[in-house]
């Protein structure tokens, strides 16, 4: 009886996991909105050279940018909860965004087993204009002085890959279930 109940619970959980992995969400970086009052970067590396990257110059700082993309990511999917938020050291921007990406903060929003969005910020000056590091100064774009640059990189996954991973997880659970019965039983 308990064995059957356990199996039923596992099957239900597996089905729920499949539903979660199937729920639609953003497919590419174009599904994420631009920052308010921003200029989209057309610099090399911020457009087509690296897939799913876009960058914006604006006066929006981290305290605005992070909740803004958290909300837009959450609204872009019908999953009933928000993405997980992970904080990274800035030097990881070379790997997560693209090589030679300057950074003062780097965060990632993740829907585990689905996709994730990296948000890299470069804030050379404080809000009052004080340089944050030696040589730090505002950006000049189209005759305007701008405080920050935010670069986004989206890591999507295709449906077949998700299904394959879901099957892999199920196979692993079944194998471990059988093996643990054989090994852990007296």
């Amino acid at each position: 009886m308990a064995k059957r109940a356990f199996k039923t619970v596992l099957i239900i959980l597996s089905f729920l996991l499949l539903v979660y992995m199937f729920l639609p969400g953003p497919d590419s970086i174009t599904d994420f909105p631009a920052l308010p009052d921003s200029i989209k970067s057309s610099l090399e590396g911020d457009t087509i050279q690296v897939p799913n990257v876009s960058a914006y110059f604006s006066n929006n700082y981290r305290d605005f940018v992070i909740p803004y993309y958290y909300d837009s990511y959450k609204e872009g999917t019908i999953v009933p909860f928000g993405p997980l938020r992970l904080n990274y050291p800035p030097e990881f921007a070379f790997a997560a965004i693209k090589d030679q990406t300057h950074s003062t903060y780097l965060e990632e929003f993740v829907y585990p087993l689905k996709n994730s969005l990296f948000i890299n910020g470069l804030e050379p000056v404080e809000k009052d204009g004080t340089p944050r590091y030696v040589g730090g100064g505002r950006f000049e774009m189209d005759g305007r002085f701008i405080d920050t640059k935010v670069t986004l990189r989206f890591y999507p996954s295709t449906l077949p890959v998700r299904v394959a991973v879901w099957l892999g997880i199920n196979l692993s659970v079944i194998v471990l279930f059988i093996m643990s019965k054989r090994i852990l039983s007296k």
Binding site: L84, L86, Y88, P89, P90, E91, A93, F94, T101, H102, S103, T104, E108, V110, P112, L113, S116, P131, R132, Y133, V134, G135, G136, Y155, S157, T158, V161, R162, A164, V165, G168, I169, L171, S172, V173, V175, L176, M179, S180, R182, I183, L184
Partner: protein
């Protein structure tokens, strides 16, 4: 056909002996460079692959393949490999955290290392062969210690893989203040290897004492003292602690509890004698526990802004200064807030790197995919905690599969320890202590992934299981 299998059995046995000698003693010279990593394919990888191919042929021809596949420990290994492969697929195509080639190569390296257990368990068919392998291991311990002392006193060369530059196979010489590594990749590798030897010797020596076989008592005693001495010279704190607790367990299992007091005295003497190890233990107490050190403050005016690693450095060019006795004692890359004392600085960084960079990296990987992790190679070359590393790389499922492997192995060795008498009992007691010390070490160092120490670990387990099986059969025959 039986003749062919006998030939293959002999070939595999001598291949096993060669690997026992070659893997720990041949330095880590790269053979084929791998793009995107400073890990290389080395000569031993080719030898191991050839050996495994012959072994696979032997298993098929001898008909042992059926019993091999039915063995639940081997099945647990296959479950572990399967989940590793699924995790690599997920890492490459779902989370995009690894490249396909690096993921496959790292997975292959794990398989290569842990397969030593089933390999030795299946090729060792007689007691004599097991003794030859164990005797060879004792010679390897002696040669590794001899070479380590040679690096300190006779200017023997060293090859390390502790950074990208050295990993190219650069031959260098240990400086007077440097830590000896012998033929291993780093001092930590050598220390773990010695811990493995010491724990087993601490148990097995009592068997020979009981038998009054003074030759082996002398040889093992000499090896024990030599290994202990070299262990202190590596200045590896955690390995010293692991050796201590491992030997305590070995003595308990050997039924020689009163020798624990002697061990305490020896450990106290080792720590009382002025050495790098003692300095590092003192620093551990003051820096890591009391959080007290003399801080470095920069006098140069570089603006006082943030030091952001991804940004180019601007500001006034610093003038170089002539080295003085004072500046020579300070690390050239020290930053404000770090300890001035060179030993304190090493101890401080050793711990801070773990808690601020390596462990959070593994935890992030685990959070990204709790079931399967982000794939082998995704958390870098070092995490310095095997549990976190496993959770980050292969998630809960892979970690549980590995737990099953370890659990089943320990269960079998405990069974051997309980059912056998004589040499096999003492050996299995020592091996249980070795596993315990190895796991203690794995809390701060990636011991299971280090190819030399990992290989030797699984080899010893394989030989012990084979010996237990042979002795069990003999008992039944009697």
């Amino acid at each position: 056909m039986p003749k062919l299998t006998t030939i293959l059995e002999n070939v595999l046995f001598w291949a096993g002996v060669s690997l026992v000698l070659f893997i720990p003693l041949f330095m880590k010279f790269p053979l084929i460079k791998i793009g995107g990593s400073f890990v290389s394919v080395r000569t031993e990888d080719v030898l191991i692959l050839l050996t495994y191919l012959v072994w696979a042929g032997y298993l098929v021809l001898s008909g042992d393949i059926k019993s091999f596949l039915k063995d639940k420990l081997n099945q647990a290994f296959f479950a572990f490999f399967l989940i590793g492969a699924i995790s690599a697929f997920s890492g490459a195509f779902l989370t995009h955290t690894i490249s396909v080639n690096l993921g496959i190569l790292h997975l292959a390296r794990r398989i290569e290392i842990v397969l030593f257990l089933p390999f030795f368990a299946s090729i060792v068919k007689t007691n004599r062969r097991a003794y030859v392998l164990l005797g060879t291991l004792s010679i390897v311990i002696f040669l590794a210690c001899f070479y380590a002392l040679g690096q300190r006193y006779l200017h023997f060369p060293a090859v390390s893989t502790t950074n990208a530059e050295l990993a190219q196979g650069v031959i260098y010489y240990i400086q007077p203040f440097g830590r000896i590594i012998s033929t291993f990749a780093g001092h930590y590798d050598l220390a773990i290897f010695l811990v493995m030897g010491l724990t087993i010797i601490s148990s097995v020596i009592f068997y020979f004492m009981q038998k009054k076989n003074m030759f082996y008592v002398g040889w093992l005693g000499f090896l024990g003292v030599l290994s202990g001495l070299v262990l202190v010279m590596t200045a590896a704190r955690l390995s010293f602690v692991a050796a201590f607790v491992g030997i305590v367990l070995a003595l308990i299992l050997a039924g020689k509890k009163k020798f624990i007091l002697v061990l305490f005295v020896l450990a106290a003497l080792a720590l009382a004698y002025p050495s790098q190890l003692r300095e590092r233990f003192v620093s551990t107490f003051t820096v890591n526990i009391l959080r007290s050190w003399e801080m470095y403050f920069s006098n140069s005016s570089t603006g006082g802004g943030l030091n952001i690693p991804t940004l180019p450095q601007y500001g006034p060019i610093r003038e170089t200064k002539e080295a003085t006795d004072e500046t020579a004692l300070t690390s050239p890359d020290i930053v404000p807030g770090e300890p001035v004392d060179i030993t304190d600085l090493g101890v401080y960084r050793s711990f801070e790197i773990r808690i601020r960079a390596e462990w959070p990296r593994a935890i992030r990987a685990f959070v990204k995919n709790p079931f399967l992790g982000t794939g082998y190679s995704s958390v870098g070359l070092a995490v310095d905690n095997d549990i976190l590393r496993s959770l980050g790389e292969v998630g809960i499922l892979g970690t549980f599969a590995f737990f099953l492997v370890i659990y089943e192995t320990i269960k079998r060795i405990i069974r051997i320890y309980r059912s056998q008498s004589g040499f096999v009992k003492y050996l299995s007691g020592g091996v249980l202590a070795m596993i315990f010390a190895f796991i203690v070490n794995s809390l701060f160092i990636d011991v299971f992934e280090a190819s030399k120490t990992g290989s030797i670990f699984w080899m010893i387990l394989g030989i012990t299981l084979a010996l237990g099986k042979i002795s069990g059969k003999n008992d039944k025959a009697i």
